[in-house]
Amino acid sequence: MADNKREIDTATNTETTGHEWDGIRELDTPMPRWWLITFYITIVWAIIYTIFMPAWPMINSATPGILGYSSREEVAQELAAANEVNAPLDERLANMEIASVVEDPELLRFATAGGGAIFRNYCSQCHGAGAAGAVGGYPNLLDDDWLWGGTLTDIQQTLTHGIRYEEDPDTRYSQMPAFGDILEEEEINSLVQYVLSLSNQEHDAEAATAGTELFMDNCSVCHGEDGRGMQDQGAPNLTDSIWLYGGDPESIANTIHDSRFGIMPAFGGRLSDEDIRKAAIYVHTLGGGQ
């Protein structure tokens, strides 16, 4: 153990700390003056800093500092500046026929970039960050199949008023009956086979023929006699290879038995008109726009 005798080391003429281990004594070389001065300066600087800048934590927030700096304020200013720069473009976008945006490359790029950000914020939760949706009720926005229409105006309408969103009086609405209460199991099976035949999938030809009449009686009002659907009703095309709720026999049987009822919220009122236009334009450019 160290024994505390402070004395002068003769070789270096320096005071020792008094700590000694196995005959080796620790020198107490003083701090270099410049180092100490620098250290004191940093302390003084720290005090000055806390006076001028937000620093000391209080109960609700920190002391503001006499310069009144705030990083939130700075962000708000930068956002305001950015909005100001974009204001003329926003205005142009708001006042134009949405379909003619393709003729203005600058505006198109602006809207697509802005729409992408809005999409990732508000839409990607259901439709996915890549807009590919998910089987089970979240439409894929990349393909060329649209339940309620894929033109810019259609998409804008869907975004503004939603689908089956009862809080919006202008929402587009349709409901498929649950045929489990109306038809026998056997009949539902025939219908499934007929629907499979519409999209050229493997099916039982005999049952499908039996399903033809059932389809004409029960389904063709909305899905059309040819099964190609009706966009005014949001009735899907049954002849193509895209299935919102799955195209295998079991999924189709479930759909017929229990029906489906997908809801999309309206964004009118939540987002500005320009932002809805931007999102619509973004979705339209994803490859399926019509």
């Binding site: 393909d143 060329d144 095309n237 895209i242 450019t285 490859g287």
Partner: protein, 477 residues
């Protein structure tokens, strides 16, 4: 117990000994004047050279454009992804230093290092205003009277002007020089420009005027590194002790016959910008400026002895000479394996960079396949992939680039937001363009897992094309 209050620890700080280098003339001094003139001219003139690159690009021959992330060097324009050129040049610079140090010691320090060049310039001013060594020593020891104040103020003013010009020239490498010059004087220039000018002015003024050899001895890492780079065969400034010793002043005395060639006149010490005595042997503080060679040669001429008492000489040759042998020729000293290896490495990297420069195109692109989702099945069963292309137009002109698929494939290629397969990329810009590729239902690519494809971008006007491979991801069933 000893009285603690009496202890005085030794100071770790060595105060600067003022150095007053004397004027000297000779072949190395002349060479150094030339090198000083040329290097300073390169430094000050380069930003003012012009080079036409087309309407959209700056016409400054050498420009580091930080804001747009471009580096221009005459006909070369470097984009950030081509930073390997800069890395290559830095490696060459490093190897070049190794090479020259191994062959010739610290020639970089002695002749071309900015610290040496500017210190030389500052000493020149000092000598012009205050006189040569003896006058300067007298002035240094004199009281602060009117004359001393006048001379000092005058000297500092001239130094400061040089320093401002130095710091000022630096920022011209980072912006259009003529515009910036006007902006600097009309207080329109950005704050960073003023800050850079200020910092470089301060460092030039302090390093060149007051710290001088202290920078070389205490701040610069090179003297430490040089030890590893030099060996016994390195040609460096040295004193032929076998010839000079024993040194002595009294040539007329009886024992003069036993004396060596060194008359102990201190000429070599007086001219030395770092204030050392080369006769003590190779040392850290020697920047091999060769001024002591000039000084001593002059003395040798006067006393009628052969030149070269202080000379460019290797340690090994000194030993041979001491034993009475003859030294090896300079050519043999330079043509030795170590130097040849350094030169070969240096040359190989240089050739590699030149090759890269020749093969470099002004049209390039990269493909990033969109993987969220990997593919989309369309209503007719066809399968579509999306790709994010970054098209780089590295010229000063707008270009129409046509995007196509290599080979005859039955896929359909479409550009997002475009009716045609061609898109205009503005001059000196990178454009992001999404490309859709659709394989018909049940075709090979649609049902396969992954198919390798190659996309081509071409500019009809200049007949340049670039190709990149990528993958088409089918449904796998």
């Amino acid at each position: 117990m000893t009285d603690v209050s009496q202890s005085k620890p030794p100071s770790l700080y060595a105060a600067r000994e003022p150095v007053f280098p004397r004027r000297v003339s000779g072949k190395f001094r002349t060479l150094k004047w030339w090198i000083m003139g040329i290097t300073l001219a390169i430094y000050y003139i380069t930003p003012w050279l012009r080079w036409d690159r087309g309407p959209a690009l700056p016409d400054q021959a050498v420009l580091v454009d930080m804001a747009n992330r471009r580096f221009y060097f005459f006909f070369i324009e470097i984009w950030p992804q081509e930073f390997y050129f800069v890395a290559g040049l830095l490696i060459m610079a490093g190897l070049g230093l190794f090479l020259f140090t191994a062959a010739l010691g610290r020639v970089w320090c002695g002749y071309t290092c900015p610290q040496t060049v500017w210190t030389d310039l500052f000493i020149l001013v000092e000598r012009w205003i205050e006189g040569d060594r003896n006058a300067r020593v007298r002035l240094f020891n004199a009281k602060w009277d009117a004359r001393k104040i006048r001379l000092r103020l005058f000297k500092w003013t001239v130094w400061l002007l040089i320093a401002v010009a130095t710091g000022g020239a630096w920022v011209f490498y980072f912006a259009d020089a003529p515009t910036l010059l006007v902006d600097l004087f009309t207080l329109q220039a950005p704050l960073t420009a003023y800050a850079s000018v200020f910092i470089l002015t301060a460092t030039t003024f302090i390093f060149g005027g007051f710290m001088r050899e202290q920078v070389c001895i205490y701040m610069c890492p090179w003297p430490r590194i040089q030890g590893a780079m030099m060996d016994e065969q390195t040609i460096t400034v040295g004193y032929r002790a076998w010839r000079g010793e024993p040194r002595g002043k009294h040539r007329k005395s009886a024992e003069a016959a036993d004396l060596g060639d060194c008359i102990d006149c201190s000429a070599c010490v007086n001219v030395c910008p770092t204030g050392i005595d080369i006769r003590d042997g190779q040392q850290l503080a020697c920047i091999t400026c060769a001024l002591c060679i000039d000084a001593c040669d002059d003395v040798m001429d006067k006393i009628g002895k052969p030149r070269g008492l202080i000379d460019y000489v290797t340690v090994e040759d000194q030993e041979t000479e001491t034993r009475g042998g003859t030294s090896v020729s300079i050519i043999r000293r330079i043509l030795r394996p170590r130097i040849i290896v350094y030169t070969a490495l240096w040359g190989a990297i240089g050739l590699g960079l030149i090759a890269a420069l020749v093969m470099r195109t002004d049209l390039a692109f990269s493909i990033e396949p969109v993987r969220n989702p990997v593919n989309v099945v369309l209503s007719d069963g066809s399968v579509r992939n999306a790709y994010e292309l970054r098209l780089r137009n590295m010229t000063g002109f707008d270009r129409d680039l046509e995007i196509s698929l290599e080979g005859s494939r039955n896929m359909v290629l479409e550009l997002q937001g475009q009716d045609t397969r061609s898109v205009t990329v503005p001059a000196d810009e990178t454009l992001r363009q999404r490309v859709y590729l659709t394989a018909p239902a049940n075709s090979g690519a649609a049902t396969a897992g992954a198919t390798e494809i190659v996309m081509t971008v071409s500019d009809e006007n200049s007949e340049t094309t670039a190709s990149e491979p990528t993958i088409f991801q089918g449904t796998g069933r």
